[in-house]
């Protein structure tokens, strides 16, 4: 799994990092974003909705998994 360490970054930076990385992974792969800006909990699922990708969930605090499906 690809992990993006965005701890300490303010939104929208974690979302931008995710948007840069997802096109580089294979369809079906999961990108994990570590982000502690409280807005990430909202903005990462929203990005998935706007970009047609799958928000897998938040398995732990400050951890967000996104699967490339498009």
């Amino acid at each position: 799994m690809i992990e993006l360490d965005c701890l300490g970054q303010r939104c929208p930076l974690p979302v931008i990092a995710l948007a840069r990385r997802v096109p580089e992974v294979a369809v079906g792969d999961v990108v994990r974003v570590l982000a502690d800006d409280p807005a990430a909990a909202l903005d990462i699922p929203a990005w998935c909705r706007m970009r047609g990708q799958e928000f897998v969930g938040s398995p732990a605090e400050n951890t967000y998994d996104v699967r490339r499906i498009a």
């Binding site: 939104c11 929208p12 409280p38 807005a39 909202l42 903005d43 929203a46 706007m50």
Partner: protein, 399 residues
């Protein structure tokens, strides 16, 4: 200065400021300005005293109270002027809860209440009470079934529902919510700050709050309405004298000139309300359509139809809300934002959070009687370039 060439001269031709944040505070209505100046000369005395100037002040207070009661369609003794909207809300919530403390200690409210309601809820919880938050859907509207379940649970002393969202404009199903409360025997408090002076508020509530600066009155005047027969035991009761209560102000001396101006502004706003609501609704429709068409990767938030007439909110992907707010300000547009970087707590707006909306790059535009067609057009023409510039600076074009 006359005829000076160069930058100094150029600055004199900065674009007109377009103030688009009436949901925070609308500019003072011209009728209110006049009334305020008159009342500063004529109504500064303490209305509780017995001499001539005080009697004049009391007359002005009574007239203002009667005007507000008439505008809201309530009885005069039901109206109290408070220090501001937040004060009205706190007293409504804590007073409504304390009035029914023997029935229960649960406060049920929507997830998208104004922070004043949520702060009062926290105060209630830290005093040993309980609070239940009812979720909203993607448009920012409560689910009537979830609301009914929440208000009919055991021990609910008070329920609160904002009339329409102050952040995204979505109107709430007030009549259905009031019916559910009535069936459960629970009083309903409605924070109507967004609608008062603009649209009628559906009946069925027990307590109502509003804020004069939202309708074109001065800051520092809130309105609290407690319907006759509602059990009400507000905080700070010990300091609130019976004559003050009876006169509809206090505790402590009222800002009478501001109250007089607030009442005049409400009358004037209501007289213009039908036409203004229609005009502003059409301008908001135009903003919703054009922003969606001309700004790539934007999420327009809230209900497109069933909403307050003057509020529109959208979020721009990959854009930092604070930078967007400052960029708009430099071009002469005053707006507000629910993005976390623009809040003192560095958390995204709880309203956007409850809706699951994109929270960064967020802008709330709210219109008022002085907002012109030209200002909205200029905003719509300049916004796409401003957003594109910020995205180019951040290197996110094409992502």
């Amino acid at each position: 200065m006359s005829g000076t060439p160069g930058p100094e001269r150029y600055r004199e031709h900065m674009p007109d400021q377009a103030y688009l944040d009436s949901a925070t505070a609308a500019p003072l209505h011209p009728a209110a300005r006049e009334a305020l100046l008159a009342a500063l000369s004529d109504g500064w005395s303490d209305p509780a005293r017995l001499y001539t100037q005080a009697r004049r002040a009391r007359q002005l207070l009574d007239a203002a109270r009667a005007a507000v009661a008439e505008c809201l369609g309530v009885r005069v003794p039901e109206v109290t002027f408070t220090a501001n909207g937040t004060d009205a809300v706190r007293r409504a919530v804590l007073g409504g809860l304390a009035g029914r403390r023997r029935t229960g200690r649960v406060f049920a409210h929507s997830a998208i209440e104004h922070s004043a309601v949520l702060h009062a809820a926290e105060e209630h919880v830290s005093a040993g009470g309980e609070a239940v938050s009812v979720p909203v859907d993607r448009l920012g509207r409560i689910d009537p079934d979830a609301w009914r379940a929440a208000v009919s649970a055991d021990g609910v002393a008070l329920a609160a529902l904002i009339a329409a969202s102050h952040e995204v404009g979505t109107a709430q199903p007030l009549s259905a919510a009031a019916e559910a409360c009535a069936a459960a025997g629970v009083p309903l408090m409605v924070d109507a700050s967004v609608l008062v002076g603009r649209l009628p508020v559906a009946p069925g509530w027990s307590l109502l709050t509003a804020s004069a600066r939202k309708w074109g009155g001065p800051g520092g005047v809130g309105v609290l309405v407690v319907r006759t027969g509602v059990r009400f035991d507000p905080p700070g009761s010990a300091a609130w004298s019976q004559p003050e209560r009876a006169a509809g102000y206090g505790p402590g001396a009222p800002d009478l000139p501001a109250i007089v101006a607030a009442a005049v502004a409400l009358r004037a706003a209501q007289a213009e309300a039908a036409g203004e609501a229609k005009r502003q609704r059409e301008l908001v429709d135009r903003i919703r359509t054009r922003v969606a068409a001309t700004v790539p990767d934007v999420e327009i938030v809230g209900d497109p139809d069933d909403r307050a007439p003057h509020i529109v909110t959208f979020s721009c992907l990959y854009v930092d809300g604070e930078s967007l707010l400052y960029a708009l300000d430099r071009r002469g547009f005053a707006v507000s934002s629910g993005s976390s970087c623009t809040s003192s707590t560095l958390r995204p707006s709880h309203v956007l959070e409850a809706m699951g909306a994109l929270s960064h790059g967020n802008v709330r535009v709210s219109l008022h009687r002085d907002t012109t067609d030209e200002q909205v057009e200029r905003f719509l023409i300049e916004l796409p370039g401003i957003v594109a510039e910020l995205r180019a600076e951040a290197g996110v074009v094409g992502l």
